[in-house]
Amino acid sequence: MRKLAWLTAAALLAALLIPGLALAEDKEIKIGVIYPLTGGAAAEGRELRAGAELAQEIANSAMADIDMAMAKNAGIKALGGAKITLILKDHQGNPQLGADLAKKLIEDDKVVGILGCYHSSVTKTVAAVCERFGVPMINDSSTSPALTKAGFKWFWRTTPHDDQFTKDLFEFLKGLSEGKAKGVKAVPMADLKTLAAACEKTEWGTNVSATIKRYADEYKFDLASNLLYAAKSPDLSAEVQSLLAAKPGAMLFASYTSDAILMMKTLQSMKAAPKILWGQDAGFEAPEFVGTLGDASVGVLTRTVFTPQVAQVKKVSGQVNNLYKEKVGHDLSGASARAFTGLQAWVYVLEKAASTKPEDIQKACNSITIPGEELVVPWNGIKFATQGEDIGQNVLGMGMIGQYQKKGDKITLEIAYPFDLATTNLVYPFPGF
């Protein structure tokens, strides 16, 4: 008994003391990547991971058929062709675990910087760790406005945040009433004026809900119902009943995948017929959304940062998308395109810094401008704000609104906004279920 106890103790001790075996290689730049690979957002996590890994592959090898600076040479040129290595960690949507993993990456794996983390709540704790250690972090996919309001010195965000996305929506509605939408005559404002919104009661959803309210006031819409619901709810029909009682012209949602599907199913069975149905990314953009709903998703609008339709307007997007499709089996999504862009930003920053010292990277981040034509996403580029309200926020980012449409027997996400990028005529009003 006693012997056994000592042996167990010794084994436990050993397990605790052996640090992660890091095979040191000179020409290797380690980036820690923290995503939700399991748990509720595992599906999105897989997309994010595939996006980042594709960007890594392109950066590490010369690919002549891709019109990107990072595809021209193998590795980081300014660092003697050093290769990017990704160390992937799974935070399971748990902020505490995210912070612990960040410490592990920084102290044990000695990463140069961090990329992640999708969930805004996890990004917050990870950013706090990076801030304390003075290690740069680029955030590719968290959209809580609060993240860039904390005044962090080691945090930069490439994706536009919820404020901008929600503003886009109201610009879109306004444009619709002014006849700017492709293929649709000016819609009388009275048809759209009444809004009903349902957002999940999480850090993300609550923020979206608040911004919807703010912009509804600013753009003079009538937000008749603006409710929060318990996420991962077993039933949403009570919520839908309340929304429909407001007789809305447009219905707005912020939900993750399973809720988004349930919401659509409930709307369908309650015979909802709004003129506009808009989802704030996340669940409405997940591959499962179309996969599960099929034709019922036609006409739904979702804010997004990428649809394969971008390839029609942008050559480089098409090239990367083809490569991604070859590897993963489906098109880039908003999540994978943003993860790709996030790692791409890392590559360009390292190229500019020509060093892996945190201070040099910080300087490079604060002064870099990546032109829009380099990116797969249809942004004007990447340039981080160094002052003002949103420190570290990419000021050249741009949101899009996509619409699911049926082309042949396939459902694709067409671009509906910005109006000058629209790939096809807008389906208006929402055709109903």
Binding site: M1, R2, A5, A9, L12, L13, A15, L16, L17, I18, P19, G20, L37, T38, A42, G45, L88, K89, D90, Q92, N94, P95, Q96, L97, A99, D100, L101, K103, K104, I106, E107, D108, S121, K124, T125, A128, E131, R132, F133, S144, A146, A150, K201, T202, E203, G205, T206, N207, L228, A230
Partner: protein, 339 residues
């Protein structure tokens, strides 16, 4: 005076236990000086946190035998008191921590009074209900940041002992270790105290205890308050350690269940039980997650093993690991064992 003497009196434990405990304590004390990965350090901090949660839970769940599945609400009260006071009024940790503790204990009296009219499963599920209600309220309460939570601003000069902000984890570790020692000493005194004996009498047979003139209802409420104080202190610490709290994070049902699981697995109703439980489950959870989790493509395998171990212990020895040790000892010597 009596209490201090009791706190330091470990004489009813076998010498083997004490020397093992001494060795473990020496290890804990020296751990930061030993070569270690920072993930190991983070794991050790989790271990200390869950030991403290478990020790607290043990007073009500172990000694009093009331399976409480709502401890997360007090963790939340502690964490939120500290965070709100720090964010809004710039109050140091050492002030807000006792305030949080007092608020949590006050709340525990308020709901403990009706709660302890319930027994068994009814009690357990009612504790879940109260915790969820409080979480739902915090999620829409703007003063505490609603569902967005609160982000504690990082101070310009680190380390900051007043506000408990450090760059390196070993500061946090030693502060927790100090709390851990205080916790053990307190519980040792608690074990010998009048309340401790009363609770065990109630656990063995409530009717007999009542007939002996013990006010069972009041005793349980007091034990519940003690448990609450432990959890609230760790909650306050958690807020400083994480720099960001959200209701979903600090008040989730998962946390409540995990606290109870660890204490039960180690052996509820004994001094060492919750510590053993945390020492087994915390490293298992974090390391298996790292080795077997998504990185290897086997999603969920770590939690399958985790669930399997919990089932096995529950089926073989429901008094937990410490129960096993005691059973072995009882068989050997045919008698006495300390609890």
């Amino acid at each position: 005076m009596e209490a201090i003497k009791n706190a330091l009196d470990f004489s009813d434990f076998p010498r083997l236990d004490l020397s093992l405990a001494g060795a473990v304590f020496a290890f804990l004390l020296l751990f930061p000086a030993l070569p270690h990965s920072s993930f190991a350090m983070a794991t050790m901090i989790q271990f200390l946190m869950f030991s403290l949660y478990g020790m607290g839970w043990n007073t009500i769940g172990g000694y009093a035998g009331q399976v409480d599945l709502g401890k997360a609400q007090y963790n939340g009260i502690g964490a939120y008191t500290t965070a709100v006071m720090m964010v809004r009024w710039d109050v140091p940790f050492w002030v807000s921590m006792p305030v949080g503790m007092a608020l949590a204990v006050g709340w525990s009296f308020l709901i403990g009074y009706p709660l302890f009219r319930l027994k068994g499963h009814y009690f357990s599920i009612a504790t879940i209900a109260t915790s969820l209600v409080l979480k739902d309220l915090f999620e829409v309460w703007d003063f505490v940041g609603a569902a967005t939570g609160l982000q504690i601003p990082i101070r310009s000069k680190l380390p900051d002992f007043l506000y408990l902000q450090f760059r390196h984890d070993y500061y946090y570790y030693y502060i927790l270790l100090a709390l851990f020692v205080v916790g053990i000493l307190y519980l040792n005194a608690f074990r010998h105290s009048r309340l401790g004996f009363q609770l065990r009498a109630i656990k063995d047979n409530e009717d007999v205890a009542k007939s002996l003139g013990i006010d069972a209802h009041w005793c349980k409420i007091k034990a519940y308050a003690v448990a609450t104080a432990f959890v609230a202190v760790v909650g306050s610490f958690h807020a400083c350690y994480n720099f960001n709290i959200e209701p979903e994070d600090v008040m989730s049902l998962d946390l409540s269940v995990l606290i109870a699981m660890m204490a039960l697995l180690g052996g509820a109703g004994s001094l060492w039980g919750p510590i053993i439980g945390a020492a087994i489950l915390v490293p298992l959870k974090s390391y298996m997650g790292d080795w077997l989790g998504a990185a290897s493509g086997l999603e969920g395998l770590n939690l399958i093993i985790y669930g399997g171990i919990i089932m096995l212990i529950a089926a073989v020895q429901p008094r937990g690991v410490w129960g096993m040790v005691e059973a072995v000892r009882a068989r050997r010597r045919g008698g006495y064992a300390a609890s």
